[in-house]
Symmetry: C2
Amino acid sequence: MNKPVTIALDAMGGDVGCAVVVPAALHALTGYPDLQIILVGDEASITAELERHSAVPVERLKTRHASQTVMMDEAPSSALRNKKDSSMRVALNLVREGIADACVSAGNTGALMATSRFVLKMLPGIDRPAICTRLPTQRTHTWMLDLGANVECEAEHLFQFAIMGSVLAQSLDGTARPAIGVLNIGEEEMKGNEQVKAAAKLIAESHLNYGGFAEGDDIYKGQFDVIVCDGFVGNISLKTSEGVAKMIATFIREEFNRNLLTRLAALVAMPVLKAFRRRIDPRLYNGASLLGLGGIVIKSHGGADALAFANAIKVAVLEVREGVPDRIRAQLGSWQESRQTQ
Amino acid sequence: MNKPVTIALDAMGGDVGCAVVVPAALHALTGYPDLQIILVGDEASITAELERHSAVPVERLKTRHASQTVMMDEAPSSALRNKKDSSMRVALNLVREGIADACVSAGNTGALMATSRFVLKMLPGIDRPAICTRLPTQRTHTWMLDLGANVECEAEHLFQFAIMGSVLAQSLDGTARPAIGVLNIGEEEMKGNEQVKAAAKLIAESHLNYGGFAEGDDIYKGQFDVIVCDGFVGNISLKTSEGVAKMIATFIREEFNRNLLTRLAALVAMPVLKAFRRRIDPRLYNGASLLGLGGIVIKSHGGADALAFANAIKVAVLEVREGVPDRIRAQLGSWQESRQTQ
């Protein structure tokens, strides 16, 4: 039996709030008998949504009122200054106070970053938080960071991302020595900008398992367990991937809808196409980790449905069980020690 | 009847050289009755390859001997210094001398950039060449640049890319006022790095049709005719796209190969899947323009087959007919004039 895990959910975050978060919470509770959930947000809305679902395991599902909601397009500074009783802020406070082990929110990314940083502080030795998520590959999956928290990064930041991504692959996949790739425009050493060249050198000289430069198409081949890049490049690469996948799905649909004959072919091919779609279902990859903070914060996609949001809760549970922030702190500490004794 | 067009082909460039370039040339000649081709490279190799194909229209297909070949992994500086009689260099010389109207090469990208710049010079007012290609979208296609020539770019460079991409969309698609997007990590004005914000401002204040910031997934939606970005981001976005498309193709193949039933479904679905594949066949998008030079240079993918290389020749023919460099020169000139009179 695992130690009980308590997760605070920002029930008002995301495009629809409660209507997704509440059923996702109920779903997660049935899957994890040792899970406790605190739904944070407008009490009336949460209660109404809970009433819409019948069997509620009261002892493992608590609520905590919060009078404000951070808007999806609100400036982070405004959220920080004016929304001290927002569902997001209160959920993060529960983590800081040790009442919850992690927070999951589908709210405004910038506000979640800024508020998390303010409430939970950075781990010593980490300058900036990074957004990290799992992406499918031809073999299994890879962890990519940063996906948009940091527009510009120094080599030292990319190195810190490498440590954090490595810990995530070790903790959640059990990979002993994750192979780390630095995203670049060529595999040759002379290519790329100064930051990626210097970051590659830092990683290669450390205890980490440096796997070389990764080109854009290497992300999905599967030879790297972790891929590091600055948040500008990472975000564009991630969104580009979503765009290509959507275009291909549209084209497949259009071709199978062209005429009677192709629609018949679609009927026959349907189970296969569904099996294919399940493999790249973005809902199964929902739940990005905000790494480098003094606590566990998982960002769900704003448009996530209950299944997707439940997956984000799962990521939070796994990170709590593995004690990800402590492992990052430990790896950073031993690396800094080894550097001082050199 | 169009004016005759003469294209110099680097017959030794790419992974296999003549074996692809010669059949591609023969294919292109049958498609364009007004096309003349000069095959540049090792005379013996070219003759041997020509002999392997029967009907050769001698008067429209000339050869020009070049004693050297630029290696695919050769440093650009070495190619420039030591390969003055390379097939690439001689083909570019033919453009400078006015004997050919354009050059097509599947050779080493860095060497082709450096040699083109040395031989043909930059257009006045353009600081750096950019690599531009057409990408499929959910509607038609979009022109994206830079795809790897410039690792770091100032706002002014991105603005020059916007002018060049706009001319390409006007010339080759006949779009009167191409909508230009600046690749960024969010659509809000406050997001992104300083360069993209400043570039967006320059484009919005010019005669160009500024369409706003484009996120990664917007590339494939089709609302932008041109998308500008620095070469680091552009190259990673392009290669990421290739990686996703390949992974999806692998997954579809695997699912249809899973068992007897799925293999039967594959037989039924085959014509539809083939029609789908034709729509995103990368060979139909082969042929990237090196823009900003005092002449037309088209880069074919190094691993292109004859069909793909023939497509690169087609791009060269279209750019010659439309006089792309002169149109860029004219647009730049009128913009500079309008700026001076303000």
